[in-house]
Symmetry: C2
Subunit: 307 residues, 2 copies
DNA sequence: TGCCGTTATGCCAGATGTGCATACCCTCGG
DNA sequence: CCGAGGGTATGCACATCTGGCATAACGGCA
């Protein structure tokens, strides 16, 4: 009698039992499983020992399942099948053949870049399925970390996590500053960073837009002063309220100029060094063809936009 | 590098990976799994080889899952958990602790016996769940064979399958004959089998009520003649139509006398030997406590009915 | 009774997995 | 700058498991 303690390989014995019951014969099942009949016979005995009950009614013309055997088939067949398909999918994924790309992006920032890139992707790889998730930079990074996203289209915030993932800089935008309409700067065509020295800065919550404040700080430092954040708010719209009510300023990526916000004026910053990088992050590990294709498409779109 | 060909034990390695990812450390996971860290480390390598991709990002402070690792967790955890609960349920079942009894019965025949028996069962084992299935004798037997039923409450038809399962005779009813109201026999208080000699018999489809015709034939033979089946119909109600329209007769278990059917009269058969056995079949193998309880309850009810 | 099918058992060789000891790598702190 | 202490990987020897081969045991059937 084979040993009972052997929990490993239980799954295989269950598969074997499924085959045996399908065939109604240990012999024929052994052929299908490419092992010998004695080996299979012992597997069945082992399985019965492990479960503590008979699974097969041995008869002179073959075997047929007992009630317990039937119960096992009903309970285990779907699991075994699910296991197999899951395994196959994982293998495909490991080989780099993803059937689905999950992309995180920030609508206001990335739409102009993402839409044409996806069009390109659909042309070169029409079969790949896309899941788009409009979420904040922080959520994107968390999503990447949790494996729920394959891509993050993200701004300057992404540099804080760039070493955890693959990354590519897509483009570099100029910077603008948001001031209240009533501000003396609001009438200017453009300004330099230096002129912001001594102003009250409005910060944004580190949790939602990580790295933004540090980026602003670094920019100011390059201009020779240290910004003073009088208040830190969460949510970009709250920043604008504060800009108006407190006559504060805040540094923003250039694409905000196209937006309208009552009471707020966006003035371009003329400093050469004041740039806002827009980057894409994606999971490390073997890159699938579709992954590479999406990165390429994004780079092309970015290049065309710069030109 | 460990061998790649080893498909057996894949499941265990997947479980191990789940633990490793939960713990974020091969070391701690090894403790939980009661194996050494090197063994577990090798399991992870083996798993990665089998899948063909990296699952863990090894860092100096432990490990964290790659995208593929995350995907594996998402796909496999529910399967592993389902597998475990299924296995536990099967073990319980093997030990004879069924949580549910699936009973097949024929409403018209068994109701008078089943209802009180279930009441008794509920008293002695209130926690056992019951699934009742009103189905034809043939369906009941098929259900038993397919493992979809634990019990079949069945008449004479059951004897054809009695050796495949455990069986017990519950009671033995007298027999009656169905004749048309216009028949000369319809006025009789009772008759003997012999008087049916030469009559046209209505048979019933072997598929739906297996053994019924054979039972009738055997009864007649014991009375010294061979019945002639002029027609075989499917469904018991069709039998009555034929009895009326063809002036045929048919032998039935005694409980039909309580039924009403327009144009049909049921006359008791007085022969001592003409009996209709009512039996219960149940799955072979270790009988659970609830199984034994139900059988006992049925026997008691039958005994009370006979008294 | 002998033949042919079935499943079960004894025995041996090869594959697999584990533990132990140790190597290796990185970070942190003196 | 180097050693301590945390992590994971590797070399090696040994126990365990599993499968194949040969053969037994058993039941039906001519």
């Amino acid at each position: 009698m084979p040993d009972v303690h052997t929990l490993g390989g239980m799954m295989d014995r269950i598969r074997a039992l499924l085959t045996v019951i399908e065939e109604g014969s240990v012999n024929r099942a052994a052929v299908r499983l490419r092992i010998t009949q004695p080996a299979l016979s012992r597997q069945m005995q082992a399985l019965e020992n492990e479960l503590g009950g008979k699974l097969l009614e041995r008869e002179t013309s073959g075997v047929k399942p007992t009630g317990l055997g039937h119960a096992l088939v009903k309970a285990m067949r779907p699991l075994v099948e699910g296991y197999d398909t899951a395994l196959a999918e994982l293998r495909r994924q490991a080989r780099g053949e993803r059937s689905e790309l999950r992309v995180g992006y920030l609508l206001s920032a990335a739409q102009s870049m993402l839409t044409p890139a996806l069009a390109k992707l659909r042309k070169s790889q029409p079969e790949v399925k896309l899941k788009l998730h409009d979420m904040s930079p922080r959520e994107q990074i968390d999503g990447l970390r949790a494996g729920e996203l394959d891509f993050a289209l993200i701004g300057q915030e992404g540099v804080t996590a760039a070493n955890e993932f693959h990354s590519a800089r897509l483009c570099s935008l100029h910077v603008c500053v948001a001031v209240a309409d009533s501000d003396s700067l609001a009438a200017r065509k453009n300004i330099t960073l230096k002129e912001l020295k001594g102003r009250d800065f409005i910060g944004v919550d580190e949790d939602q837009v990580p790295g933004r404040n540090r980026w602003a700080t670094a920019l100011c430092k390059s201009a020779g002063f240290k910004p003073r954040f009088v208040v830190v708010v969460d949510g970009i719209t709250n920043v604008f309220s504060q800009v108006v009510s407190e006559s504060g300023v805040t540094l923003l990526p250039g694409y905000f100029e196209k937006l309208q916000h009552p009471g707020v004026t966006f003035v371009p910053v003329s400093d050469e060094k004041a740039r806002w990088d827009f980057i894409v992050l994606w999971q490390k590990g073997r890159a699938s063809a579709s992954t590479r294709a999406l990165v390429e498409a994004l780079k092309q779109v970015a290049a065309e936009m710069n030109a």
